[in-house]
C-alpha cells in the first residue's frame, strides 16, 4: 500500500469526521496491528483497513466513504489543478480519464492504479470500466467525477455500479465553473522570476 494513499485516507477521515473519529480508527487499527504481533507488521491492509474501521464506527457503507474520499480529493486545490490539466471541459475530462493512470504512474510509479477504459454509447452516456476490477477505485472515481462536474460547471449525472462508473452530461455548461489557468497563480517559480 502506497504511503501517500494511506496519508490521503488519514487526512480525509480527520478532515471530514474530526479528530475524535480518527482517534477511534487509530485505536481500532493499532489493536489489530498489535494483535497481528509480527514485529515487522504494517497495518493490515493499510488504507482499506482504515476505511473499514471508519465505516464500522460511523455505520456508513464503505462504498459511500470511498465516494466521499474521491470528492474530497478532487476538492484539494493541488489535486483539482492536476485533474484540470486532463480536459478542456467535463466531457473531454471524462474521455481523457483513460490517460489518468498513466499520468498518475508517471509521478508515482508504484501507485498500482487500475487501467480505465472509457466506452461511449450512442446517446452520449459514458461508461468507465476498470481493469482489474476494483470496487474501491470505482467508488473513488465516482466521487471524484461528481466533484469535477461541479468544478467544470457541468451538470453531470454519475452512477457508481459495482464494476463500472456511468456518466451522463445533460448540460455541459450548467453553472459557472471554477477558474483554471495553466500557470499556478501567485506562486513565484523557483528562480523567483516571473
Amino acid at each position: 500500500m502506497h504511503r501517500l494513499v494511506v496519508r490521503a485516507v488519514e487526512e480525509f477521515l480527520r478532515d471530514t469526521y474530526g479528530a475524535n473519529l480518527w482517534r477511534q480508527v487509530e485505536i481500532s487499527c493499532a489493536v489489530e496491528q498489535v494483535a497481528a504481533a509480527a514485529p515487522a507488521g504494517r497495518l493490515p491492509g493499510g488504507a482499506e483497513r482504515m476505511i473499514a474501521a471508519a465505516g464500522a464506527i460511523l455505520e456508513k457503507p464503505e462504498g459511500e466513504l470511498y465516494e466521499d474520499l474521491g470528492a474530497w480529493l478532487a476538492r484539494r486545490e493541488a489535486i483539482r489543478r492536476l485533474l484540470r490539466f486532463s480536459g478542456r471541459d467535463f466531457a473531454d475530462f471524462v474521455l481523457s480519464l483513460e490517460e489518468l493512470p498513466d499520468r498518475a504512474h508517471f509521478v508515482i510509479p508504484d501507485l498500482e492504479m487500475p487501467r480505465i477504459r472509457v466506452e461511449r454509447e450512442e446517446d452520449g452516456t459514458m461508461r468507465l470500466l476498470l481493469d482489474p476490477l476494483a470496487p474501491a477505485w470505482c467508488a473513488i472515481l465516482g466521487g471524484l467525477l461528481r466533484a469535477m462536474a461541479d468544478d467544470y460547471g457541468a451538470l453531470g449525472l454519475v452512477a457508481v455500479g459495482g464494476r463500472a462508473v456511468q456518466v451522463q452530461i445533460p448540460e455541459a455548461s450548467f453553472a459557472e465553473g471554477r477558474d483554471f489557468h495553466l500557470e499556478q497563480g501567485d506562486v513565484p517559480n523557483a528562480a523567483g522570476l516571473r
Binding site: 489493536v31 504481533a37 504494517r42 508517471f106
Partner: protein, 343 residues
C-alpha cells in the same frame, strides 16, 4: 530537391525533418507520406490510414477518414490509436493541405515512454522543439528521487511499526502490556457502545497468581520468570484470535474476552486456566505451589459507566476470590454499589 508532391516548395526530406511525426493523406484516406518516427510504429507500406490507426476517442465516429477531415475543418484535437500498438493513443491536429489532402501532425502525449519502449526511439527521432526528451528526463529523475524517498520512508515505517508493537508488548511474556491493554479495552468498549446488541459485549477477567512470591523467594527469579511465561502460554492457549491477554503487573494478568458473557462458560474457562497454571510446579518438593485467583465482570452491566469502574470491579472480584481461599473464580453479575464494594 525532391518535391513532396502536395506541398509545393517543401521536399519530402524537409517534411521528414521538420515534422517527423506527420501523416499526409488524401481525402479518400490513401497515405501519401508518413514521418520517419511514426514509420517505426506502423506496418511498412501502409496504404490506407485506417490500416494503421483507429479513432482514439471512444464511441465516436467509426469512419476514421471522416474524423480526420472533420478535425481538419473545425480545428479540434484528433486522437489516433495505433492498431499495431493499441496502448498508444496518439494526439494531434490536422489541416487541409493543397486541394485534396490533409496534413496531420501527431504526438505521443503521456504514452511517450511506452512509444520509446515499443519502437526503440532515440533522441534523433524527436524534433528539437518537442519536449519529449525533457519529459523522459523528468520521469527518470523523479522516479529516482521518489524511489529513494519511498525506500527511506518504508524503512522508517518498519522501524516505527516495530517500536509501536514493542511499546504495547510485555517483553518477558510477549503478551500485551498495560498500554496495549488500554488500547484494546477502548476498542472493545467503542464497538460495544456503538452497537446496542448484546452480541458485541465482552468479559473482563482479572487474574492474580497465588503464592508467586514464594517461588521468587525460594526458587529464584529465573524460576519466577519461567512461571510467568508458562502462565502466558496457558492464557494464549485459551483465548481466541480477537481476544486480548495482557500482563499488567508483576504477577497480574487481564483478559478481554470478546462476545463472551455466558456466566457458566466463563466459570469453566477460568477453572481451565487455573488448572493449567497449577500444573507448572507439580512436584511441590520445595513446598512451592502456584495457583491463581480470578475476578470477572461483564460489559453489559457497565453500559453507562466509565471503563475504570469495570476495572475496579474486576479487581474487587479478584480480591473476593483471594479472600475466599485462593484458586477461585468470582463472576460479578451486577456492578458493585457502595455497600457491596467492601464485601
Amino acid at each position: 530537391m525532391e518535391p513532396s508532391g502536395l506541398l509545393p516548395g517543401i521536399s519530402s526530406g524537409a517534411m521528414d525533418r521538420i515534422l517527423p511525426m506527420h501523416l499526409l493523406i488524401q481525402a479518400g484516406g490513401r497515405v501519401l507520406s508518413v514521418g520517419p518516427t511514426l514509420r517505426k510504429l506502423v506496418t511498412p507500406g501502409m496504404r490506407h490510414v485506417a490500416d494503421g490507426f483507429s479513432n482514439g476517442r471512444p464511441g465516436g465516429n467509426e469512419d476514421l477518414v471522416a474524423v480526420i477531415l472533420g478535425a481538419a475543418s473545425d480545428g479540434e484535437r484528433l486522437f489516433l490509436r495505433m492498431r499495431q500498438t493499441p496502448c498508444l493513443n496518439l494526439r494531434g491536429h490536422a489541416v487541409p493541405a493543397g486541394r485534396d489532402a490533409v496534413l496531420v501532425n501527431l504526438g505521443f502525449g503521456i504514452g511517450l515512454p511506452d512509444a520509446v519502449r515499443a519502437a526503440g526511439l532515440t533522441d534523433r527521432d524527436f524534433a528539437p522543439p518537442e519536449l519529449a526528451m525533457e519529459l523522459l528526463f523528468m520521469r527518470e529523475a523523479m522516479g529516482g528521487v521518489l524511489g529513494e524517498l519511498s525506500h527511506f520512508n518504508s524503512q522508517l515505517e518498519v522501524a516505527r511499526d516495530v517500536a509501536e508493537a514493542q511499546a504495547h508488548t510485555d517483553p518477558l511474556t510477549g503478551l500485551h502490556n498495560r498500554r496495549g491493554l488500554e488500547l484494546a479495552l477502548s476498542e472493545a468498549r467503542t464497538l460495544t457502545g456503538l452497537r446496542a446488541g448484546d452480541r458485541d459485549g465482552f468479559a473482563l477477567a482479572h487474574l492474580d497468581l497465588d503464592h508467586f512470591k514464594a517461588v521468587n523467594d525460594l526458587l529464584g527469579h529465573a524460576e519466577g520468570d519461567r512461571v510467568l511465561c508458562h502462565v502466558a502460554r496457558v492464557l494464549g492457549d485459551v483465548i481466541r484470535s480477537d481476544d486480548t491477554a495482557a500482563r499488567v503487573g508483576g504477577d497480574e494478568f487481564v483478559l478481554i474476552l470478546r462476545r463472551f458473557e455466558d456466566v457458566a462458560g466463563l466459570e469453566r474457562l477460568a477453572r481451565r486456566i487455573i488448572a493449567g497454571i497449577e500444573s507448572v510446579l507439580s512436584d511441590g518438593a520445595d513446598g512451592c505451589r502456584v495457583s491463581a485467583s480470578v475476578g470477572i465482570v461483564l460489559s453489559r452491566n457497565y453500559r453507562d459507566q466509565p471503563l475504570e469502574r469495570m476495572l475496579l470491579d474486576a479487581d474487587a472480584a479478584l480480591y473476593r476470590s483471594k479472600r475466599e481461599g485462593r484458586g477461585r473464580v468470582t463472576i460479578l453479575t451486577a456492578p458493585l454499589t457502595g455497600e457491596t464494594q467492601g464485601l
